[in-house]
Symmetry: C2
Subunit: 275 residues, 2 copies
């Protein structure tokens, strides 16, 4: 998917919501456990209930891997289900991968060939050759960790050399590896006060913003600081939407929660004259 196609979808749906499919078998409604693939059954209903209110889905790999082969199977089925039924959705493998060049190439194969993800999150610690193999796939994206939403982000990401912080160095250095048409950045909503500075460094790139809702970040603040003239934001919400109810009405309640976010996003897009 190209950047302009993504922006067109955002305008059409009046939403820049990404729904995080962090599906935990211990948190889904009990009655689904009687089905042959409870995780997929849950995802399927969440997707059917929210696909017109969001532009992206983001399964976090950890939740699937914790179930071994079965989990990996549920993941593949989920990606195929989205791709077949709602082909305009942008699908992100939240995998936080990264390894030496030839090995990162195998990860790229895993997410872009063996499965049909549009994007994969990548950790920058190992540098250029750990990232560039993902960028050779036309129409696919790397979403590089810059400033994450967790407490541990402060341990290393703010380290400073000649006035430049590590996450700023990641933003600047990676400009030489990819473009705003194949590279996005993870910037946590809990660090909203830094988003304005980040937007200066990467004016055109999309930012994937986790941490709104359960982790405490504010959608309005993130948007004020980070929106650009092609929106430039994908704001992720996981728990707040997919676990809006633990009863049989979970999909309807997920839709309500997503709708609430979408309405707020529509107003913010409108205020920025993007509709």
């Amino acid at each position: 998917m190209t950047r302009s196609e993504l922006f067109e979808q955002i305008r059409r749906k009046r939403s820049y919501l990404c729904v995080g499919l962090d599906t935990d078998i211990n948190k889904i409604p009990r009655y689904l456990l009687d089905t042959s693939d409870p995780v997929f059954a849950f995802n399927q209903q969440i997707i059917d209930a929210t696909h017109d209110l969001c532009v992206a889905y983001k399964p976090n790999l950890a939740f699937y891997e914790s179930l071994g082969v079965n989990g990996w199977n549920s993941l593949e089925k989920t990606v195929n289900y989205i791709r077949y039924n709602y082909p305009d959705l942008f699908i992100i493998a939240d995998a936080k991968r990264g390894d030496i060049g030839n090995t990162s190439g195998m990860y790229a194969k895993a997410f872009f060939d063996a499965m049909d993800f549009d994007a994969v999150t990548v950790a920058p610690y190992m540098g250029e050759d750990s990232v560039t193999p993902f960028l050779t796939y036309v129409g696919k994206w790397v979403i590089l960790l810059a400033l994450t939403s967790n407490k541990g982000a402060f341990d290393f990401q703010l380290m400073t050399e000649n006035g430049e912080k590590l996450y700023e160095k990641v933003l600047k250095t990676s400009q030489y590896w990819g473009t705003s048409d194949n590279l996005m950045y993870v910037v946590g909503a809990t660090k909203a006060e830094m988003i304005a500075d980040i937007r200066q460094l990467v004016p055109d790139h999309f930012l994937l913003v986790p941490g709104v809702g359960a982790q405490g970040g504010s959608l309005r603040e993130v948007t004020e600081k980070g929106m650009n003239d092609q929106c430039g934001l994908l704001v992720n919400s996981s728990r707040q939407i997919i676990y809006a109810s633990d009863g049989e009405d979970f999909a309807a309640k997920a839709r309500e929660a997503a709708k609430e976010v979408q309405i707020e996003m529509e107003a913010l897009l409108d205020a920025h004259r993007l509709l």
Copy 2:
């Protein structure tokens, strides 16, 4: 496995070799492709041929994930095969994971509960809460990336603040998260000149050293700089051993290649009076 059990195994086998099971379906002998699970069939023969010459196996997850559900299945079978037949071997998931706290907890579940790995490699970029969930498992290990063997290591790992490099900060800061009984570090053999300094910072911790052989690092140099009084080194070799031949004699040739390394390691252990 405890650190002293690992050291005992090293003394018994006169080896600190880790064999990297980076099994690429495009590189294994063609005749194996007729079997129902070629990757597992390959691993099984490699393991049978080398288990008494090495102390650890390290499947790199990327190679398995690139084959989707089938690859994940081959990985689970490989771990089970080692655990059942050669229970004293130390099994490392070279996964380079790391995510926010509750998500890293799911990865820990994947590698320590759903599969019976002894250790998992973790990327430090996201800081403390991305690492500590792995450390709550008794007898299990985190192997944290410090200074990696690839060219991209120079992009961020040498960034310096107040005279301290990022990889040094990772070494020092992580001392507060774990101990030399549940935490090791990845230090690339291609950076052998830095291993002596690293050994000063972490005198007791095991170092997992990739990059000997195909990537150009020297076993002798790594050992001179990095060995401590409990060995403190696991030196990984992948391609040089597992792809020693692409014919039907691949397992025998892998054994020869592993034996060559083991003999060199025995001499080095002896020179350090550890036998």
